[in-house]
Symmetry: C2
Subunit: 326 residues, 2 copies
């Protein structure tokens, strides 16, 4: 089978690609394991191909329908659509957010519909589709109410993917990811960038500014479980999903203060002393609008699992990204 | 002030236009009554101008951005966006539904954003944004879960209108209308067309086929209250609406059997004998996915009112459309 990953040069795209190459197979629509013959990574910058002959790297803008049509043929039976403009950037550059987060998804869906071969599409959504007055724990039945352009664009694509799936144009599934922490690499323009930065920077010997107050609650998932969830979300049989294809994935509910204490337990006072708290009202407003936890019963029934606690997430980062050094 | 009505030749557009001409004014963003200087009615067919010099009729497709840009200038301070492909037709012709129900709204919103004058936009939404496993009474906090392409397109536009409003590009408000009954005129391709047809046709001496079973529950609003709601929805101050601009309007909950009995009470056995019941599984599936009632507390707090019961709706139709003859 041939697999396409949009946003293939991004942090999740690269980790997913590596994991798929190591597994070597995915389940098809009938639930049968199929060897991955080709893995296409498309992104605005060239992705790492890991020196693997199965990988084909394409640099380009997937909101361009000609590119999209050239990439997606009836041979592409699985698409992980990860390409996105992150929350802070989509809020600052409305047109760019609409183009990549909404129009590109539409182009992708229409391209698949025109081909008629009903590929599996795994679409990643986010805590940002929720907002406004929220219950303590968000349920599957809680209304989406995005309070950012990023969240709006994700919510819109969820509905489109559901309808394209209901009509039989694609076989879609939506994974709503908690905020991913600890992301490796550099800070980005996501409003939630700090949720990785306040752990990653101090562990790498650098200072980090935390733009939200320590009592702010966040809902987190490690990169390890995010990747595992993307693959399980792909492999699920369409029948298992019911009429709403969106799944709220398991996460860990913590305050920012508790995150800092978990870092102290893992790495000590000196590392924690590199964090300084300087609230930024714009970032705080966006992050505060997101749910601090949601009910993941459905996800667990479908076989998804999650991190034990935030300390285990910090330890996983140290293992995976720092070779155990802290 | 200059007012634009899209779908201005349609049944609601024409009734709204007539009512606006008779009132002569609407409230501006500050809540001050302003005379209506011009009322532009755009639709694919030429609307009736009621021989009123304030009315300007334009025939054209509002998904055409050049037309949209020529219609919307900074002089247009209020837009009632009523143009839509109805549920049954949007399900049968996916491309047409996407173009008119989604793309045209996007063009309209982007045109307003480019002008920067933040017009009021009244957008009509529908019971069709809900679906799946629903509570007995749908609440404001119930998740949208459309099970038709029409419902999906309406839900998507609700989110876009909310975000364009949050960003300050427009001053939007969404009115979720119950199924309108009794519509005058001919049957249309809405899955809910029968909800008017089984009353209207027999009262006009014609037979009518009811494509759903008598125990199916529906949520209805008369044209009178729909028009009153559109005007109040326009006149509300943006501050009154909070972060979610969608309002579930008051309706009347009845079974189809109860509708028929109300007709019997108003017009007698002979009129009712013109109805025959022949269930159509496709129509029943769409209508069944809609809520049979929703909580309209918020709407009532904002000043919206509704019909007393279905018998009063039938009597209003006889008064308004048949000059009291039955």
């Amino acid at each position: 089978m041939n697999v396409l990953i949009t946003g293939g040069a991004g942090f999740l795209g690269q980790k997913l690609a590596k994991q798929l190459l190591s597994r070597g197979s995915l389940k098809d629509a009938q639930g049968v394991d199929q060897m991955i013959d080709q893995l296409i990574l498309v992104d605005v910058v060239e992705a790492n191909d890991f020196g693997d002959q199965r990988v084909k790297v394409i640099a380009g803008d997937i909101s361009n329908s000609a590119l999209c049509q050239s990439l997606i043929t009836t041979d592409i039976t699985s698409i992980f659509h990860l390409a996105a403009i992150v929350s802070g950037q989509a809020e600052a550059d409305f047109d760019l957010g609409m183009r990549i987060n909404l129009d590109a998804a539409r182009v992708l869906l229409e391209t698949c519909r025109a081909l008629g071969h009903q590929p599996k599409i795994v679409f990643t959504s986010s805590v940002a589709v929720y907002g406004g007055a929220l219950p303590e724990v968000v349920l599957d039945t809680t209304a989406l109410n995005p309070q950012s352009s990023y969240g709006t664009q994700k919510a819109v694509c969820e509905f489109l993917l559901n309808d394209f799936t209901r009509k039989g144009f694609v076989d879609g599934r939506v994974l709503r990811l908690p905020t991913i922490s600890v992301r490796p690499g550099a800070a980005n323009k996501a409003a939630s960038s700090f949720a990785s930065g306040i752990i990653r920077e101090p562990l790498n010997g650098h200072t980090s500014i935390c733009p939200v107050s320590p009592n702010l609650r966040v809902w987190l998932q490690s990169p390890r479980y995010a990747i595992e969830s993307l693959i399980l979300g792909h492999d699920l049989h369409a029948r298992a999903l019911g009429v709403n294809k969106a799944i709220n994935l398991p996460g860990v509910a913590v305050t920012v203060g508790e995150m800092i204490e978990a870092l102290r337990n893992v790495a000590g006072d000196e590392v924690v002393s590199r964090i300084s708290i300087k609230p930024d009202s714009q970032i705080e407003a966006i992050v505060k609008s997101w749910p601090a936890s949601w009910d993941a019963t459905r996800a667990r029934q479908l076989g998804f699992s999650g991190d034990e606690n935030f300390e285990s997430i910090v330890r996983a980062y140290v293992e995976d990204e720092l070779n155990g050094k802290k």
